[in-house]
Symmetry: C2
Subunit: 377 residues, 2 copies
């Protein structure tokens, strides 16, 4: 089967690029001697997971209990569910732990720690938890120097649960600009968890795991002293947001959406395709960057970008190809039925719109396989 045989719109994964992206981050982290715990929320595919994890058993990170359940049933036995836990979700955590998966949870309040301890005692299974640290005011977590809250959570946990360690995510790094700013994000991320771990150790807790993670900081950290593991997700595919902040080049982006030309509006300089926002997602993550890529960069069917041609707008099942505003480029000649590939703003969001990856390598048009994706919670 070749790309020309695929129904459109569909998702194309360039395995060469993906393998290069994985080798690049793994090589980088190996030099620091830290573990890569990839975030599987980006791919939601066992085939991709097996490429990106250090072993078929993990370790890895997940963002939903559905992911935990799926990957545990596929033999992954070392997982962190990296979204704040709530009491009623602990029954599923216990079920997966009983099945042999070392699934750890994340929390940032005494209330959650007490619930983890209570559930652990009731089940006769100590549920391991990591305390989430807020390194940049981006989302959830305890401030790294809030000693009382850290120690209170640890104390509540160790009455029957298990304090596995501390964890943070430098979400702010996605909007940082330039190497210096990214290196600063990475160092703030590191210091936040290392300081919190020191506080907990000073209070008598072992705190074995010190976990950081975001693709921008993983690729820019210059010091990972005290860090035991790095979580990152989007590095496996990369996307235009990552290219926009300089973490990758356009030709590192492994994911694209294949679409077919369905019409033209010549007076307007538009080519219409059958890939709209349902296929691309509504993500407009490059809108606030220096270069707004619309809904994505348009490439020919082999994946080679047309200069300054973007998916300028999208309806549910219609995409509008146009010259980038301000450019004097010419619209390529594409007739009805021709195929194009669109590089996405955000790989996690675009991937989620599809049920499988069609796997190609470089500009070879052979489709070497179809890998299913899953969704839901």
């Amino acid at each position: 089967m070749t790309i020309d045989d695929l129904k459109t719109p569909c998702l194309i994964l360039d395995a060469d690029r993906m393998e290069r992206n994985i080798a690049r981050l793994r090589g980088r982290l190996d030099k620091f001697g830290v573990t890569l715990r990839p975030h599987l929320k980006t791919a939601k595919s066992i085939e991709v997971a097996q490429k990106v994890m250090s072993s078929p058993q993990g370790p890895a990170t997940v963002s939903t209990l559905r992911e935990a359940e799926f990957f545990a049933s596929a033999g992954v036995n070392d997982l962190i569910y990296a979204v704040g836990i709530v009491p009623w979700k602990l029954a599923k955590v216990i079920e997966l732990r009983r099945g042999g998966c070392d699934l750890a949870v994340v929390l940032d309040t005494v209330e959650q720690a007490e619930a983890v301890t209570a559930a652990s005692v009731e089940a006769g299974i100590a549920i391991p938890a990591l305390i989430e640290i807020d390194c940049d005011g981006h989302r959830s977590g305890v401030l790294p120097h809030d000693t009382k809250r850290l120690v209170d959570i640890a104390a509540a946990l160790t009455k029957g649960g298990e304090l596995r360690g501390v964890l943070t995510h430098a979400g702010g790094s996605y909007t940082a600009q330039g190497t210096e700013a990214l290196q600063r994000c990475a160092e703030e991320e590191r210091l936040a968890v290392v300081d919190a771990a020191t506080t907990l150790r000073d209070a008598g807790h072992a705190c074995p795991v010190v976990s950081v993670g975001s693709t921008p900081t993983a690729h820019n950290a210059t010091n990972l002293d005290g860090v035991t593991e790095v979580r990152a997700g989007v590095f496996v595919f990369f996307d235009l947001v990552m290219a926009g902040i300089g973490i990758c080049q356009i030709d590192d982006i492994a994911l694209s959406v294949l679409g077919t030309v369905i019409g033209h509006q010549e007076e307007k300089g538009w080519i219409l395709i059958d890939a709209g926002w349902m296929a691309m997602s509504r993500d407009r993550g490059t809108a606030k960057q220096a270069v707004d890529q619309g809904y994505g960069i348009v490439c020919d069917s082999t994946g080679k970008p047309f200069a300054d041609i973007i998916l300028a707008d999208a309806n549910q099942e219609h995409g509008i190809i146009a010259v980038r505003p301000g450019s004097d480029a010419t619209l390529p000649y594409l007739k009805i039925g021709d195929r194009v590939r669109i590089l996405p703003n955000h790989a996690c969001a675009t991937g989620a719109q599809h049920q499988s990856y069609h796997v190609v390598r470089g500009n070879d048009d052979l489709v070497e396989g179809e890998w299913p994706r899953f969704g839901g919670w």
Copy 2:
């Protein structure tokens, strides 16, 4: 089962509101004596389709061949696939027509008409096609007064295909403000197809179907003379974008996402929930409206909105609840594990993130059923 038994995040459908929304548009169109051909791309559910269609057999509109296949296999036998056709998709159209579904296609070029005719002749089945008309410069279609192109397409079609009629979609109406502007959109939409149909009839073509459709124009048209049918989709659920342009009230919105509180950042005035953009979609359709609703309006678990409380930001599986900027409202007291419902910006996009609807009625917490949704192409 009650709402408290549901795993979160998940999609809630208030069937009372949905039925009221359906009755409202149907009652309006009945007065004009035109057929409602609902667009099933919003719901992608046979249970909703059966409520919104005039009969179990249709008529209805679809945006993908996957939808056509699904609804045809469920007994719907009168469909328009309302996205420009390309030659290789005609094999599936013929297959569905052979199976007993009167599936019509849409096109706007002589090239497509010739492909439809060629496929019709080869299969021995006349494929009906509607010529798409561009009523407002929004997307695809022939300009209504481009007589030569209209007549050339019709001539190409009638050599073996079938000219079913003309069709347009007033996409521009989604950004219109006020009744007068909306009524003008509706009249422009009507005139575009009525004029095109007149041109075709003058050239000797019957042109039986004259099809318009968008939720804003369907609810604002004051004259539908010459129109035979109205397509509309989002009216079945409504959403904040529709409320923002005055087509519905907030308490007409039938779709919401149920989420659970997973944390607080008190200093920032944030409540975190487990419904992020994966559950809401990345749609920010209210961002350019007079009132920006963020990722949605926050309601209690019975669906009653908190005044001026919105989902201010979203990560993949984290939603951030905050007071609307500029408001002096107070954040509600919500503890970890409490549930909220979020009214979405765009029902089509939010629905697409989920695999089923959990059906409730009004503020009763009883869940009377779970209706599956499908996706893909």
